[in-house]
C-alpha cells in the first residue's frame, strides 16, 4: 500500500515536471503581454534536439542545454513575426506549432525507437535512504529539482524584483512602459526566448528523462495543456504547480489505472487529461473576476512603439 502511495506521488511529480517548465515559461511570456501558442512545437523541437545531441555522443548536460537553446531559437521565429512584423499572435503561434512538429519529426526521422541513456535520479547520501520520506522527496532526477528552483526564481523575479515589475508593466500597458523609456520590444523578445528555452527544457525532460527515447509527436498535447495551465493558474506561478500536479496525477491514474483494478479501455484513461483540461478551464473561465485579477491586460495585442 505504502509502495503504491509512493509510486503515485512520485509519478505525479515526475509527470508534472515537463508541464511545470513549459507553463512557467509561457507564464512569463504572457505576463509581458505576448501569447505564444507554439509551445507544443517548441517542446517537440527541444525533445528532438536533446535526443539528437545525446545520440551524437555528448553528455546529458550538453543534450539538455541543446534542447534549451533550440527551444529558444524556435521561439525567435515566433518573436520576429509577433514583435517585429506585428502579425496576429494566434496565427504566428499556430505556425510555430505546425513548423515545430515538422522540424522535430524531420530531425528525429533516423532515431527509430532506440532508447536514450536516461537522466538518472539523484542518490543523495543518507537522505535518499530514509524510509518513505527518502523516496518521496529525495529520489528525483536533477531536472525535477530544477523545476522547483525555477518556480521559486520566477515567482521571486516577477513579484520581488524591479525587472519583474517592468516585465509586468510591459504586459499591462506597453504604451506607458514605452513612454517612460523601457524597450518594450526588446523586453518581449527576451521573455519570448525565455519561454522558448523553458519549453525546450520541458521537451528535453520528456525525451531524456520521462520516456527516454524519441517518438514523433511525443508531447501529445502537453504544450497545449501547458497553455491551459497558465489560464488555470490565473497567471500566478505557484498555482501552475498545483495545476501541473493535477494533470500529472491524471497521467499517473492512467498508468496505474490497470494496476488499481480499473478495467476501462486505455483510450478512455488516456483521454482523461484532455477532458480534465476542459473542465478546469471552464471552472476558471466562468469566474471572470478571478481571471481579470492577474490577467495581463495587453495580452496578444500587437504593440508598435510610436514617437
Amino acid at each position: 500500500m505504502m509502495d503504491l502511495f509512493i509510486a503515485i506521488v512520485t509519478g505525479t511529480v515526475i509527470a508534472a515536471t515537463p508541464l511545470v517548465f513549459a507553463a512557467l515559461g509561457e507564464l512569463v511570456v504572457e505576463k509581458s503581454g505576448v501569447l505564444n501558442l507554439g509551445i507544443e512545437g517548441m517542446m517537440l523541437v527541444g525533445a528532438a534536439a536533446g535526443v539528437w545531441v545525446s545520440f551524437a555522443g555528448f553528455s546529458m548536460p550538453v543534450a539538455i542545454l541543446a534542447a534549451v537553446v533550440s527551444g529558444a531559437l524556435a521561439s525567435l521565429l515566433f518573436g520576429v513575426l509577433a514583435l517585429t512584423f506585428l502579425t496576429n499572435q494566434y496565427a504566428a503561434g499556430l505556425s510555430l506549432a505546425i513548423f515545430g512538429a515538422g522540424v522535430s519529426a524531420f530531425i528525429g526521422k533516423g532515431f527509430g525507437s532506440t532508447p536514450v541513456d536516461a537522466l538518472k535520479p539523484l542518490e543523495i547520501p543518507i537522505l535518499t535512504d530514509i524510509p518513505v520520506i527518502g523516496p518521496l522527496l529525495f529520489n528525483y532526477d536533477p531536472l525535477v529539482y530544477l523545476s522547483f528552483i525555477m518556480l521559486g526564481l520566477i515567482s521571486w523575479f516577477l513579484y520581488r524584483t524591479k525587472a519583474g515589475l517592468i516585465v509586468r508593466t510591459v504586459g499591462e500597458s506597453p504604451q506607458s512602459a514605452h513612454a517612460i523609456g523601457y524597450p518594450v520590444i526588446r523586453i518581449r523578445y527576451l521573455t519570448i526566448m525565455f519561454g522558448g528555452a523553458m519549453a525546450g527544457l520541458g521537451g528535453a525532460y520528456l525525451s531524456l528523462a520521462y520516456t527516454p527515447l524519441w517518438v514523433e509527436n511525443m508531447t501529445s498535447g502537453k504544450g497545449w495543456i501547458s497553455l491551459a495551465l497558465v489560464v488555470f493558474a490565473t497567471w500566478r506561478p505557484f498555482r501552475v504547480l498545483i495545476g501541473a500536479w493535477l494533470f500529472g496525477g491524471m497521467t499517473i491514474l492512467q498508468l496505474q489505472g490497470q494496476a488499481m483494478g480499473i478495467a476501462w479501455p486505455s483510450e478512455v484513461l488516456s483521454s482523461l487529461p484532455y477532458i480534465a483540461t476542459i473542465v478546469v478551464l471552464v471552472i476558471i473561465s466562468r469566474n471572470r473576476k478571478m481571471l481579470a485579477l492577474n490577467f495581463p491586460v495587453s495580452l496578444a495585442k500587437p504593440f508598435r512603439p510610436e514617437g
Binding site: 513575426l81 512584423f85 502579425t87 499556430l94 515545430g100 497545449w224 489560464v231 483510450e267 483521454s271 471552464v282
Partner: protein, 346 residues
Amino acid sequence: MRIIAPVAAIGLTIVISSIMFALMGHNPVAALYAFFVEPLTSVNGVSEWLLKASPLILIGCGLAIGFRANVWNIGAEGQLIMGAIAASGVGLFYPDPESALILPLMFVAGMLGGIAWAAIPAFLRARMNTNEILVTLMLTYVATLFLSLLVHGPWRDPDGFNYPQTALLPNAAMFDVFDYSYRLNTSIFITVVAVVAMWVFTERSFFGYKMSVGGAAPLAARYAGFKESGSIWLGLLISGAVAGIAGMAEASGPLGQLSPQISPGYGFAAIIVAFIGRLNAIGIVFGGLFLSLLYLGGEAVQLSLGMPSSVTLIFQGMLLFFLLASDFLIFYRFRRVVRHRVEGQA
C-alpha cells in the same frame, strides 16, 4: 495588394525548400521538379491533387468564416474525425446495405457529428467564457482516442486480420468515382457548392457582414447591436459541419472504411489554407490546391528521394510564417524607433 503576400509566401517557401533540398545533397532543380511538378504530370496525379484539395478547401471555407469573426476553431481535425465516425456508423449499421438512402443519411450524420463536436466549444465560449482554441484542440485529442477505441474494439472488422479498421462500407455508401482507374469522386461537388455558399455568405449576406465587423472591430459591432454569441455559434457550427462532411467524404470516398488514417492532418492544414486564401472563398480554392500539392509532393519525394514525409509539415509551417511576414512587409514600412531614456539613467 491582397494577393501579393500569398504569392510571395509561396515563392519564398519554394526558394527556401530548394535550399533545403540542396543542403540535403539533392539537386535542387530536380527535387523541386519531383516535389511540385511531377505529381501533376499524370491523370492519376491530377485526380489525387483534386481529391486531396477538396477536403482542404471545404474545411478552409468553414474555418475562414469563423476566423473572420475572431472565432478560432483549430480543432477541425477532431470535428472531421467525429463526422467520419458518425457517418461510418450509419454506413456500417444501416439495416439495408443496398438502400439509396445510405449516402444521404451518412452525409447528414457526418455533418451532425461535426456540428456536435463543435457545439461543445461554442457553448463553452458563448456561455462560459472558455477559450475555444484550447477546447477545440483538447477535443481533437479526445476524438482521436475515441476513433482508436472504436476501431480497436467494438467496430473492428472481424475479418480484418486484426488491423485496427472497420469492415468496408457497402457500395451504396460510397460516392461514385468519375473513372474506375482513379480515386477522384463526386464528393468534390460538395466542395464546389460550399465555395459558392461561402462567397455568398461573406460577400452578400447581412449576417456574414455582421460577423466580419465583429471580428475586425468588436467595439463597433457592439455599438451597432451585433451580438457576439451569434458569431461564436455560427462560426464554430459551420466549420464543424463542413469538417464533419469532409470526414464523411473521406470514409465514403478514398478510404471506404473507418481507420485511424482517416485524415493526414487536413483539419490543421485547412487553417493554413484559410489564411493563405485571405479568408476569402476564391483565395481558399487556390490555397487548398497549393496545400494539396504539398501533400502530393511530400509523398513523391518520400518515394523518389527517400525524404521523410515530415517535409510536408515543415513546408506548411514555413508557408504560414512567410505569409504572415509578407503581410507586414506589404502593409507597413520599417523604421527606426528612437527610444526615450529612462529618467535618472544614463
